[in-house]
Amino acid sequence: MAELEVVEEKETGTAPTTGRFEPKIVAFLCTWCSYTGADLAGTARMEYPPNFIPIRVMCSGRVDPEFIFKAFRDGADGVAVCGCHPGDCHYISGNFKTMSRMPIVKRYLEQMGLEPERFRLEWISAAEGEKFQQVATEMTEQVRKLGPLNWNETVETQ
């Protein structure tokens, strides 16, 4: 909590109500594992920041890199892609495709001058409500620390 308070002091927030920066993170969740895990976090009444906004896809393999770029272009401060653990994919091998695509996406984003913390690939199973909560909280705090995504600024400084 102490850390949170420090963050609060430092940030000159964009959200007028809370007075601190509230990042927007788009999370692509696969239906069978990660979304069910998020569901579990919900039914278990676990709290996680509202900044982490899920978009459900059938499989993490459906996540077209275009969606990630589009989200960043349109002002998302972070993007997460979550799928089943390797070997557990409901569609046999969909997450292996994700596994090979996302590092390229990440590298591309880094070359564009984006901080690596803004993009995350996570494996969350249907049983891991707690992990979902932890990823959501952790990433929100990380991105909050980085501040709003400002393409011009980041490109200049990097």
Partner: protein, 601 residues
């Protein structure tokens, strides 16, 4: 020694009729006399005959008088082949006198051997006119040597020396390395001269009491389903020496085939019900309870075996040293409701422990101490049973046992252990000496459930049991179409709940079968012909091989029945020519737009 004769009647063997003790009998020609006599319940004493071995005719006890062609002779029944018209007398005066003489001689040399003493008593032999020698256990019947050589084929025993010096030994009097420890010699020995405990140091095992090796052919336990015996190839003589084969000889339905092997049968099925069950928690890591270290400590599953009428003690509750226990402690929640092991409640253990208390009180009258955290008697009639056990003078101690030990500064009576438990209702720590400690172990997912999970593409809940599609609305279905779960594979539950769930799963499957049609996911992918370049990228990513290339048109085609709608091809398509119903590019983009709507770019 004897004439080679076919014992088993072949269809073309002629039948002969003869008289035995005044009774006319019919038997296949040249059958050994003793076999015919036994079939007609005429008892002929013998010490060296075994129906699975070639007759030996060495003990001479089976002598009978045979009249053939008017000539009377004394012959040994074990190796005398019957022929037409003979007259046999098994107990006339002459025979009895001869047997008496034989027994007198045997008594001179084997006076302490029970089987000889009994026979001598039966025939009224009380005076021995021969010089008495120190009693020898071995009567040189040769059963052990013959069973080992002819039947087992191990050739680990033989005779040495001749005449009065003759004795049974291993070849060259050295420890035989061809002995396979089958125990056949021990079983056939009529005088208990060969002792099993001398072999291999095999001793009484508590829990599964057995002297020497288990019979290689056995039914696992009384209630086994199917209750068919099976052969343990590791201890079966036939699989070690190619000998024996008695079981296939005696099996009336010819059901034993030694060349049968385990095989993998492939079954094509449209529905799968997963009922992989559970495994009991292994309490060995909980060192404080002494499981595996103190013989008095057992798991609930082991106690169940002990108290079972088909168990090792025939259902008698005995301590490891063979006493009836005076005090028994039942420790609840071993590996359940424990942050260090499994956090969940295993549900069945409270009721199981109550049942145990009831059984112990009924069978032994021992004091029973139930050390529980909470009593959870949730089912129909369960609370009533709890009240009944309460009234049976069972001690209920609310508190978890901290230690089971065989040490006490004040000393413990022989064979007892001490349990230490805080009685949270009295607010004191109690130390109770008991004879038996039953650890009520929790339920864990079956070994291999993880493999099964990956094979069937189903999920597990945080407790590692298989996850149902919806806890209330689809409790037996899983995320994978056509795969259902029931019983402890889904979570700890007792028999009534398991049966109910299994019925539900079967009904769900029958519903699908009765429908005769399978509902497909509407979210399949479709190729837009005009945009497809026929690059075949999608073909390589599809996990279901649902995409083929239409060579004529030069485009990819998706088979709707095979496509499961994962959308991997949609993401992979470099020309954006594939759309996924329900998760199309425009739809997801619109979602992203909506999420980020309040941000000014």
């Amino acid at each position: 020694m004897n004439e080679k004769t076919e014992i088993i009647a072949e269809p073309d063997v002629k039948m002969v009729t003869f008289t035995i003790d005044g009774k006319e009998v019919t038997a296949p020609d040249r059958t050994f006399l003793i076999k015919v006599a036994r079939e007609h319940n005429i008892e002929i004493p013998t010490l060296c005959y075994n129906e699975h071995l070639e007759p030996y005719g060495v003990c001479r006890m089976c002598i009978v008088e045979v009249t053939r062609n008017g000539r009377r002779r004394i012959v040994t029944a074990c190796n005398y082949p019957v022929t037409e018209g003979i007259v046999v007398e098994t107990r006339n005066e002459r025979i009895i006198n001869n047997r008496k003489l034989l027994l007198e001689m045997m008594m001179a040399r084997h006076s302490e051997v029970e089987v000889i003493r009994n026979l001598a008593k039966e025939y009224g032999v009380d005076t021995i006119r021969f010089k008495e020698q120190p009693s020898e256990e071995c009567i040189l019947c040769g059963l052990c040597v013959r069973v080992c050589n002819d039947l087992v084929g191990a050739h680990a025993l033989c005779f040495a020396q001749r005449g009065p010096e003759r004795y049974v030994t291993t070849p060259y009097d050295v420890e035989s390395d061809t002995c396979i420890g089958c125990g056949a010699c021990y079983h056939v020995c009529p005088t208990n001269h060969i002792k099993m405990e001398q072999m291999d140091g095999l001793s009484v095992v508590y829990g599964d009491v057995s002297l020497g090796p288990d019979k290689p052919i056995h039914i696992d336990f009384m209630q086994a389903v199917p209750a068919t015996p099976w052969i343990d190839q590791k201890s079966c003589i036939h699989f070690q020496t190619d000998g024996c084969g008695i079981c296939s000889e005696v099996c009336p339905t010819d059901a034993i085939h030694y060349d049968m092997k385990d095989e993998i049968v492939e079954v094509e099925a449209g529905n799968i019900i997963v009922t992989s069950g559970f495994k009991g928690f292994d309490p060995s890591p909980m060192y404080q309870f002494g499981y595996g270290r103190l013989p008095q400590v057992m798991t609930s599953i082991e106690f169940e075996k002990l108290s079972n009428a088909g168990g090792s003690t025939g259902g008698k509750l005995l301590t490891p040293d063979g006493r009836t226990p005076e005090a028994v402690a039942i420790v609840h929640c071993i590996g359940s409701r424990d942050k260090n092991y499994n956090e969940y409640c295993s549900r069945i253990c409270c009721m199981q422990s109550l049942k145990f208390s009831h059984l112990i009180r009924e069978k032994t009258g021992a004091e029973v101490y139930q050390c529980y955290i909470d009593m959870r008697c949730f089912g129909k009639g369960y609370e009533e049973f709890y009240s009944r056990v309460l009234s049976e003078d069972v001690h209920f101690i609310r508190g978890k046992v901290s230690e089971v030990t065989d040490f006490s500064p004040d000393g413990l009576p022989e064979g007892k252990v001490l349990i230490k438990v805080e009685d949270t209702l009295l607010g004191i720590v109690r130390e109770i000496p008991v004879d038996m400690v039953i650890l009520s172990v929790g339920i864990e997912p079956q070994v291999g459930a993880q493999d099964l999970k990956q094979k069937l593409r189903i999920s597990v809940s945080p407790d590692s049991f298989f996850l149902e599609r919806h806890p209330k609305l689809a409790p037996v279905a899983t995320a994978t179409e056509g795969v259902f779960i029931a019983g402890c594979a889904q979570g700890p539950k007792d028999i009534p709940d398991t049966v109910a769930q299994a019925n539900a799963a079967a009904a769900a499957v029958l519903q699908a079968i009765a429908q005769g049609e399978v509902m497909l996911e509407p979210i399949t992918a479709e190729v837009m012909e005009e945009q497809c370049t026929g690059c075949e990228t999608c073909l390589s990513v599809c996990p279901y091989e649902a995409i083929t290339k239409d060579e004529e048109k030069g485009i990819a085609v998706i088979n709707d029945a095979l496509c499961k709608g994962c959308g991997t091809c949609v993401a992979a398509c470099p020309s954006g020519a594939i759309k996924q119903w329900g998760f199309d590019r425009e739809q997801i983009i619109a979602e992203i737009d909506a999420v980020l709507a309040d941000i000014a770019v």
